[in-house]
């Protein structure tokens, strides 16, 4: 196989392709076009049916099937991918900067002797050189890196490429194979997938969300934000650290391991804008962020911002909103 192959490792859950797969295909298509490479999409699954007639932007789609590959099992994936990627020897393997790709990258980098570049937002090829832009330090800085030889595993961040670019008008060539090696005797066994508990509010359907970040500093301030959300006919949601502290239930978490939301208004209080949260709310129609750190990355995605202390601002804002609503 050509050393200039680009491989996309597809992600899916319960027979449904994840959006990140299409974004990776869009990125891979752009790189393949720029370098004259072949783009291959690799799907590891127990059932090829949902994936074999999809119009992927890849030149070829390889579906590897085995009963163990039904749901993501890092050990099984790593075994199959180590074997296949070693054989294919691609220039680039694209994975998601997700709970799937992040499990695999470290292991595969050792088994394949490959370089990993994480948190990628943009990947370009210049001759033999791969130029990658990534987010570092919680998104506070941007890192540019170069890799000029060997296999590179890039972890692509959600929202970096448009998913439309991951499809084309025809079904790509399909190659369905059995796993090239036995997956018996694995030390990791997948038992079950638990659906999220249903929260009292469906965050994806609420027109206004008031987001609480670590800067709220305590459950008392969350209540102030709840009042604000109530006035706006919305609900309060949170970043992971706020949920970890138990200030709000996990059903209110927005971001990579929570819910993806696109409300008409997102008011972010004390949210720094770590990439894993921004992924979940950046497509909100109108974003206003309040954070005392003027360098917080949330201000990159917000339309308006303030560096005032939320404890001072939120109660006054609630009063102003009451006034304006009363004056309707």
């Amino acid at each position: 196989m050509s050393p200039d192959t680009i491989v996309v490792i597809a992600e899916h859950l319960k027979g449904e392709l994840s959006d990140i797969t299409l974004e990776m295909l869009a990125c891979g298509r752009e790189l393949a076009n720029a370098s004259g490479s072949e783009l291959i999409c690799m799907v590891l699954t127990d059932d090829p049916l949902p994936f074999k007639a999809l119009p992927f932007a890849s030149d070829k789609t390889i579906i590897v099937k085995n009963p163990v590959l039904g749901t993501f099992n890092p050990e099984a994936y790593c075994k199959v991918l180590s074997h296949m990627l070693r054989e294919m020897s691609p220039r680039i393997a694209l994975m998601g900067s997700t709970s799937v790709g992040m499990d695999l990258a470290g292991m595969l980098s050792v088994t394949l002797g490959a370089t990993v570049v994480g948190n990628c937002t943009r990947i370009q090829i210049e001759g033999r050189k791969l130029l990658v832009t990534s987010k570092l330090y919680g998104g506070k800085l941007t890192a540019r890196s170069e890799v000029d030889q060997g296999m590179v595993l890039c972890l692509l961040m959600t929202g970096s490429y448009s998913k439309e670019g991951g499809m084309k008008n025809e079904i790509s060539q399909i190659d369905i194979r059995d796993s090239p090696l036995s997956l018996d005797g694995l030390r990791t066994q997948f038992r079950e997938l638990v659906e999220p508990e249903e929260g009292d509010v469906d965050l994806t359907k609420v027109p206004v969300l008031v987001g609480a970040g670590r800067g709220v500093q305590g459950a008392d301030n969350v209540r102030v934000l709840e009042e604000l959300a109530g006035l706006l006919g919305g609900a309060v949601c949170a970043t992971r650290p706020v949920v970890d502290q138990g200030w709000l239930p996990r059903t209110r978490q927005v971001g990579r391991s929570g819910v993806i939301v696109k409300p008409r208004l997102y008011l972010a209080f004390g949210i720094s804008g770590a990439p894993e949260h921004v992924e979940g709310m950046k497509d909100s129609e109108f974003i206003v962020a309040v954070n005392t750190d003027s360098g917080a990355p949330i201000f990159e995605v917000a339309h308006y911002g303030s560096t005032l202390d939320l404890q001072d601002l939120a109660p006054v804002l609630a009063e102003k909103i009451k006034e304006l609503k009363g004056g309707k």
Binding site: N73, A105, Y137, R144, P207, L317
Partner: protein
């Protein structure tokens, strides 16, 4: 059960990050260090296992001298053993190098579980857990929200976060490396006087290994995100800013 926890010192991103003159690294003198948040969760998860099953918890503090303070805190919280692995400034955030330092001592330590945060704010080269596991030829699962003993010897049951709030339940045979995203309870608080007390009697084993200079990922430039594309900042006191926001909402029919 023996559990090792990797506790890395990373730049505190709440502080201003100053880029060094080389344009590709942080200015060493200006970095303020903090324990990597998810490593703190890994420690908490290990202490939860200690509480439930009497696990022996060994804390491996990584970084500069700040790592020793983190070890004192870990012991004050309940860790049984403190090991310091010094890492030069230029090597911090290089997980491949760190894994080389840690592989042999962790193998020799005979641990059932090795816990670390699933990611660190200063890394780009793939998660530490997976690299370590591959080097030790044992399984790795990351993105975990909980760990407990499984029914049946030599196994743990883990809860792994998937997109959309779904949780995957898996059984993993020990020894294994586990990447923690959130501990089952928030990391415990320990009063300063308890940390000071732990410091006085703290016995730290130091491990110095020399590892070859591997050329991994080469960062050519660090920069602050482009300004201008971001938010329009609202100036003034609470009254002015609150009025501006309320008016913006009204203009957009959001009130």
């Amino acid at each position: 059960m023996k559990v090792a926890v990797i506790i890395r010192q990373v730049p505190d991103v709440v502080e201003e990050l100053v880029i060094a003159e080389d344009g590709r690294s942080l200015s060493e003198d200006d970095v303020m260090y903090i324990t990597n948040e998810l490593d703190d969760h890994a420690l908490e998860q290990a202490l939860i296992l200690k509480g439930r099953h009497g696990a022996h918890v060994a804390a491996y503090g990584i970084g500069g001298s700040e790592a020793r303070d983190a070890l004192a805190t870990s012991v004050a919280k309940g860790a049984d053993e403190a090991v310091y692995v010094p890492l030069e400034f230029k090597d911090r955030g290089d997980n491949h190098k760190l894994a080389m330092h840690l592989a042999a001592p962790l193998r020799d330590g005979g641990f059932d579980l090795i816990l670390s945060g699933m990611q660190a704010v200063d890394e780009l080269d793939g998660g530490l857990g997976g690299i370590l596991a591959s080097r030790l030829s044992i399984p790795y699962v990351g993105g975990l929200l909980g760990v407990d003993m499984a029914t049946g010897a030599g196994k743990v049951t883990v809860k792994k976060a998937f997109a959309g709030g779904r949780i995957g339940i898996m059984d993993v045979a020990s020894p294994a490396v586990l990447g923690i995203q959130s501990s089952e309870q928030p990391p415990r608080y320990v009063p300063v006087n308890k940390v000071m007390q732990a410091k006085k009697t703290l016995q730290v084993k130091e491990i110095r290994t020399s590892v070859p200079d591997v050329v991994g990922l080469c960062i050519t430039q660090l920069q602050k995100p482009e300004t201008g594309a971001g938010a329009k900042m609202l100036e003034g006191d609470e009254d002015n800013v609150a009025s501006s926001i309320a008016n913006l909402l009204k203009e957009r029919g959001l009130l």
